[in-house]
């Protein structure tokens, strides 16, 4: 397995997402994410008028962009893009200046409330390096999340991307996101989260 030959990506099949928040909790436990901040979450958006109303579930995590603006702006080179596409933050270099947070079009970064450094989803690279899938992918009860190598035409994700129309969030930001969606409702990207319960 040569890492440089890989192009890792995540694909959400939103037709299969049931909005159960399992991915969010799997991440909390896998990465010891403190209360108040999230690396991934499920946005719920209500649309339409009764009785033709709908509700959309939109799981969000770091897009691990091909052209990550957060890495470009970092003044201390703490943001690093690996050859396989995973973008991560070197915790020893980060000075918590929040430039990356300001630059990220997706708002997926946060400052750790105790360590005071920037953190985000890096597709569980500790698991990926051990040949496993990210925790949220493994936990998803309906198999709505696929993870794999887009450079391998035989991988499940390559086939799903080839067979279905896929979208990314905010393609106009020019960062070339590597988290893809099947059945993305563009309006719910910008819409306000419906506080549900």
């Amino acid at each position: 397995m040569k890492a440089q030959n890989k192009r890792l990506a995540v694909l959400f099949d939103l037709r299969k997402c049931i909005g159960c928040n399992t991915c969010a909790l799997a991440c909390k436990s896998e990465n010891d994410v403190p209360l108040g901040v999230w690396r991934n979450w499920v946005k719920r958006v209500e649309k339409g008028r009764y009785p033709h109303s709908r509700e959309f579930f939109l799981p969000i995590l770091c897009n691990n962009c091909e052209d990550p603006i957060c890495v470009t702006v970092c003044p201390v080179n703490a943001g690093i893009k690996r050859p396989d596409g995973i973008v991560y933050i070197d915790p020893h270099r980060c000075i918590g200046c929040r430039y990356c947070m300001a630059s990220c079009p997706y708002g997926v970064r946060y400052i750790h409330p105790i360590k005071k450094i920037a953190e985000k989803c890096y597709w569980c690279h500790h698991r990926v390096d051990a040949g496993l899938e990210p925790a949220c992918v493994e936990a998803c009860p309906t198999g709505a999340i696929l993870f794999g190598d887009l450079n391998d035409p035989e991988s499940e994700i390559s086939r799903a991307v080839a067979e279905n129309a896929v979208q990314v969030i905010k393609p106009e930001s020019g960062t070339d996101p590597q988290t893809f969606y099947i059945g993305l409702d563009i309006e719910s990207v910008e819409a306000k989260q419906t506080e549900d319960k």
Partner: protein
């Protein structure tokens, strides 16, 4: 495989929640058991984590889970990728099990009351003292022949505890799990002689869903949701949901039809009428397998025209007609239902009406339809090992209001993982009852947390969590092959040094991990064994086991003849076992047989209901109290998120996402009443009132308002109450939603109403009034 069709009586006897006590064989077998490697690495040290397969017990689905330990600490719970039901999937509740175990607010020692009841003053006692008190009480009741004064309130089933109760000559038992599905099981028993049937949902092409929410809360939750999603997305099945509010399932359905609460029965009957009128009914099935003729059916359905259903439910007659035709022609089809239709005073009839749709379309024992629960040989042996409670002793009490009415005195009330002071309808009356020392002289609560009920107790016993004990259970075999699940302890792992000092230390097992429940918490099984030993006599003879692991080992060894050669070891390694002798049963065996009506049939006319002077035929009954005309009166419905479960009330991760329950109200109606989003309102029912914040939404029927269950705790823990506090867990000082409060408990205003036919609770029938609170009145 030897499959025996079991009689209705035996099914009742098999006891426990039916899912835990039964196994079925569906006509189809999905993916064969896989053998994926189970591994995980530590995020910090990149070392492999210790992986222990076990079974989740937070709902009846019995998902296979893997607990990952970093050193001694439980750090992750994920689905068991080899388990045939959940196939590696898990729900948020399952992962939140980590919070349940590692909760700094857990109850870890036995306490006895020190001040007045409910005053909150406690003295810590030893288990020895607790055991002597309890065994003394029980022995006294036995000797004086008044075991009926011992009331058991159990929120979770445990096979050893059940054995204990059976040996005791079983007193009065409130079985919360059985009560939840009472209307459903009465309806199913009256028609097919089994408390429930299993849906072969993965192969269905048309699914009509009446008030069930399998994408958030279901008896087979993950296993079922996964199969339904597969059917819908990969096989093009159509899912149509009837519900008063847009549930997660409705949101992910091809169509959502909001209808007036409790009117699902007439919609189903009108559909049945359309199917019969258009000649689309499976006349062969009706003729051979049911006790009714097509012409009788015609007569029965005459009053239920789509137009009359429209008047009652609000669903357009044209929609009813179209969906009925689709249901009868786009096969395989199945109609499923859930709490949304059975938690009503007409719940049993509703369930029978929806079931009628399945019989008319002949969806029984067919791929993509419904299947009978079946037993395999192994399951029968397990049952002989643990004789369930005799039918007469189960389920005699439907909760505290029933208890209050009977006037049989109570000596000791024992609640295990049950919190009636919070979770029963009209919980304030329940609290008053439990607080009254004349009504309940001695209240014992065994729980993992200091619940509302524990606050009223005289004796509190710390229960271990499901991740700290042993158990054997039958999982619902969604793929047709019976499955046996093992639950084994995954916490707390003892260090070798500590294990060496433990009195239970065994040199032969030096290299095996050894576990002990946290603090002084004890498994209910072990508590039952110790009590039996102390009481002596027949009880100790009937429970001749050292501890729960010994009990499980003995159960397994009795199975060795039927396929588990390696016995306990294979179960410990895999977490579950599938009967290798079982094979795919051909669907045709049901339909090809020349059996006459006497042997196998669907009873549409029920004599058991006739005896209860209820209509023996599926009929629709209007709920009288819902015939209101006042536009300020609403039917209060409740729903349960998948983040709410018995074990997740004090889970920090679950409460972070769901800590507030606003009152759902239709945007249009709210506007007419001058209520805006986030306004504070007073919600008043005949039994009480509460203050809630409003969520105006287009996702609810205008006659209904909705509140999420499981919030608004006044006890259990600081997390459940939304309070920030300092503890050994860094996160508890980061609780950020303190200002928003912790929601309201709908049970405070829900009336304890019952369905006269099935006897189950009409939880979703309370009519409430809404009054806007002005700024000054807000808290």
């Amino acid at each position: 495989m030897k499959i025996k069709r079991i009689s209705r009586r035996k099914f009742m006897k098999s006891g426990l929640a039916w899912i835990a006590g039964t196994a079925t064989s569906l006509g189809s077998i999905g993916k064969a058991a896989s053998d994926k490697e189970i591994a995980a690495v530590s995020r910090t040290s990149i070392k492999s984590l210790r992986a222990i397969p076990t079974t989740c017990q937070q709902c009846p689905a019995g998902c296979g889970i893997i607990a990952y330990l970093d050193g001694e600490r439980l750090v992750q719970i994920l689905g068991n990728p080899n388990h045939p039901n959940n196939r590696g999937g898990i729900c948020a509740k399952g992962i939140a099990g980590i919070n349940l175990v590692n909760d700094p607010e857990r109850l870890l020692h036995p306490f006895k009351r020190a001040g007045a009841r409910g005053s909150g003053a406690w003295t810590r006692i030893t288990w020895d003292e607790a055991y002597s008190t309890l065994s003394h009480n029980i022995r006294e009741m036995l000797e004086e022949d008044r075991v009926s004064e011992f009331v058991i309130d159990k929120g979770q089933d445990d096979s050893l505890f059940d054995r204990f109760l059976a040996a005791l000559g079983a007193p009065r038992i409130i079985d919360r799990n059985a009560l939840k599905n009472l209307n459903r099981s009465v309806a199913a028993l009256s028609m097919v002689g089994a408390p429930a049937l299993l849906e072969d949902i993965e192969k269905s092409r048309t699914v009509l869903n009446f008030g069930a929410n399998p994408f958030s809360n279901h008896d087979f939750f993950i296993g079922f949701a996964r199969r339904l999603v597969l059917a819908r997305i990969e096989k093009g099945a159509k899912l149509v949901t009837f519900d008063v509010r847009m549930s997660e399932t409705a949101a992910k359905s091809d169509a959502w039809y909001p209808l007036k609460a409790g009117t699902d029965g007439i919609v189903a009957l009108a559909m049945a009428k359309v199917i019969v009128d258009k000649g689309l009914a499976d006349s062969d099935f009706i003729d051979k397998k049911t006790d009714i003729t097509l012409s009788d059916l015609n007569r029965l359905l005459t009053p239920y025209s789509p137009e009359s259903a429209e008047r009652e439910s609000g669903i357009k007659a044209s929609d009813i007609e179209r969906l009925a035709v689709e249901f009868a022609t786009r096969k395989p089809s199945v109609a499923i239902f859930g709490g949304g239709i059975t938690d009503h005073q007409n719940g049993t009839h509703n369930a029978r009406c929806v079931s009628l749709l399945n019989w008319i379309a002949g969806n029984l024992e067919k791929d993509g339809g419904l299947f009978f629960p079946q037993h395999s040989t192994a399951q029968q042996i397990i049952e002989q090992q643990s004789p369930p409670l005799p039918p007469g002793l189960r389920n005699t009490i439907r909760g505290i209001p029933d208890l209050d009415k009977t006037n049989i005195p109570i000596d000791t009330y024992f609640a295990y993982l049950s919190n009636p002071a919070y979770s029963e309808p009209d919980c304030q009356s329940t609290t008053r009852f439990l607080k009254d020392e004349n009504a309940v002289p001695f209240l014992v609560v065994m729980d993992t947390h200091m619940t509302e009920t524990a606050n009223l107790a005289d004796l509190i016993l710390p229960a271990s969590t499901f991740l700290e004990g042993w158990g054997l259970s039958n999982a619902p075999p969604l793929d047709g092959i019976p499955i046996l699940n093992l639950r084994q302890p995954v916490v707390s792992l003892m260090s070798v040094a500590k294990a060496l000092r433990s009195p239970a230390f065994d040199v032969g097992k030096l290299l095996e991990p050894s576990f002990q429940p946290m603090g002084e918490s004890v498994e209910i099984g072990n508590m039952s064994l110790e009590l039996a030993r102390r009481i002596g006599g027949r009880l100790s003879q009937e429970l001749p086991f050292k501890n729960t692991s010994d009990y499980v080992a003995k159960q397994i060894s009795s199975l060795s003849g039927s396929g588990i050669q390696e016995g306990l070891e294979i179960l410990k390694k895999k977490g579950f076992w599938m009967d290798p002798t079982s094979e795919k049963r051909t669907v045709s065996s049901f339909h090809d047989t020349k059996e006459t009506k006497k042997t196998l049939q669907v009873r549409i006319r029920s004599s058991s209901l006739e005896q209860k002077s209820a209509s023996p035929l599926p009929v629709y009954k209007t709920i009288e109290s819902h015939k209101h005309t006042d536009r300020n009166e609403f039917i209060l419905t409740t729903f349960k998120s998948n983040l709410m479960g018995s074990g997740t009330a004090n889970s920090k991760w679950a409460r972070e996402i769901l800590h507030e329950n606003r009152l759902w109200i239709s945007t249009k109606v709210a506007k007419q009443l001058g209520i805006k989003n986030n306004d504070r309102v007073r919600v008043t029912s005949p039994v009480g009132s509460l203050r809630a914040k409003v969520l105006t939404t287009s996702r609810i029927h205008p006659d209904s308002v909705a509140l999420a269950e499981g919030l608004g705790h006044t006890a259990v823990g600081n997390v459940a109450r939304g309070k920030r506090f300092k503890s050994k867990d860094r996160d508890t000082s980061l609780i950020w939603w303190s200002q928003k409060g912790n929601g309201v408990n709908p049970m405070e205003i829900i009336e304890a109403k019952y369905d006269p036919v099935g006897g189950g609770l009409g939880l979703k029938d309370t009519v409430v009034r809404i009054e806007k609170l002005s700024g000054g009145q807000t808290e």
